[in-house]
Symmetry: D3
Subunit: 127 residues, 6 copies
């Protein structure tokens, strides 16, 4: 259990900003290390979601469901942010999460709870 | 590492109550969304542990060991709560955890630590 | 390593038909057992991919990428068959697989090889 | 996909005997290597399933569900053999598998198919 | 997401000490339970990293990469501590992490961020 | 269970050559598709194991243990081939596998059996 999911911190509304700040700070540190393999991997990770035969929105949904079945809260948060930016509807987000739930099983449920909490946080931030 | 495992929060004795509060709040939100697939999955998740050829206690032990080898702290916590409610003995809980440890390997150990901490918390709550 | 990946069997062109025959035979046996939880899960698994806010094609791509990162050859085969039936293009299939590769890492490569082999088999069957 | 699951090999009835022969031969080779850590692990693996607060039958069900959610066909086969030896009923086996299915999700289904095929093979061998 | 990775706690410099305190307290509790299987497993876990054909440093790198691809932050932290104690260089640590990243994919990145943060914390503690 | 583990195929000594032939054929097909992300990933996968602060032999051991704990037989086979080419001793290979066994648990054992079988096959090919 990750305690970012507790009421308390979310009511202070800082979970997403903390996620972003830590992510940005560490990405800078990691890329600054100039490890060729790591830096190329990060670049490739960006390329994978660019528009091609599939549009960006669909690719972000793919990233979201893959993150959910692999049960990585940070990755789910990142793709939820990107989905929100791309205008994915609440229903489309829930259907994507529902497929992740069926594929990955009940072990996914705690991550689903945190994902929905994040999505709500993102919606509140937009309104 | 989830920091719900630090001494500090557990000494305040609120980890389990926070887990329950977040779980209940999010389950209500998720089910209220009326996504048919998700809602049926949640119902099915409940049915799977009802008495049949196997009794409820055995099924909760199955849920516990499955959660441990898949390394989901929230799921382990949930099944430990249910095991305690069903009267599973401390020895039976540890034997179940020991099988999860052997099957899943040393990667399970951090989750075992948090599981034992939870179990102790549950025992204190009963006494 | 699954030996369905050897040249020999694929050149005989029977891998897909064997997959389908075993899948169908065992589904019949399993559903005939009348285990309520299993039968409802199978029904739910079908529902998850029905059209809603997302169309069927997108949902099959979600199933495909989830299967690939979880490294289940049978599941990948199943969703490739469904993608082909829904008219997913070769480029769209490869982009979906490429996201699975980046998310899941090099450990996915053996499954990617078998997936591409399957896709080629499906294309030959259509032409 | 493992093709041991095809009709053909099972109808020749040699899948289980092959599994046992390979397992026995390799265990002998591995233990003969005298790697202390490996040999102690193998001994410990045996001890974990001995009777204690939980009886052997329950422990084998725990091993079965853990193997299923981790999606290891060989491990599932081994615990099904042991369950059959311990007199686990068909209903109890299916309920255990159903919990593994709900916990692990649809990704478990191909392993469930092979597990049921194995169980049927074990029942035929007894009759 | 585990919030031990937020700036705040790390700037207080107590994350590692909390990790160690909880680890030590729970290990004592677990071993005091005298569950034979668990206690032998813990002993075996120690033996696996002792010098043999491979030196201790190499074995700790093996433990590190295995922990990273299995995405266990606590295990990564533990092996980073051990690597630092064995005099592993920053470059060697990053190369090991880079292999874990390529093998395990982008799903590993959040754990990589926390690993690098930990490594920096360990370096600061030494200087 | 993958049936490449049966006595029969290995006694004909063709398992490794089949593995290599399929791997080579599919790599050619996949790279010929010119999907930028996939092709860059394959290139990066090669770079990760080149000499740097760590020598090639150590990196191959890292690849081996990562493959074993993630339970990918093909990946294990590939790194065993590379380890043999780099002159890794039998003892060093077994110690690496033993760490993978302890980290990954008994679920790793079927893969360990196939790994040892492969290693023996590689040794016979050299003598």
């Amino acid at each position: 259990m990750s305690d970012e999911s507790t009421d308390d911190r979310h009511e202070h509304g800082n979970a997403l900003s903390e996620f972003r700040a830590f992510r940005e700070r560490m990405n800078t540190e990691i890329l600054g290390e100039n490890n060729l393999v790591i830096n190329r991997f990060f670049a490739l990770d960006g390329r994978a979601y660019e528009a091609g035969a599939l549009d960006v929105k669909t690719k972000e949904l793919l990233g979201l469901v893959a993150s959910l079945v692999l049960r990585c809260d940070d990755c789910v948060t990142y793709h939820l942010i990107r989905c929100a930016e791309e205008g994915v509807s609440r229903d489309a987000a829930f259907e994507t999460l529902s497929i992740g739930l069926v594929v990955g099983g009940s072990i996914v449920i705690p991550h689903l709870r945190r994902a929905v909490d994040r999505w709500n946080e993102l919606e509140r931030a937009r309104s």
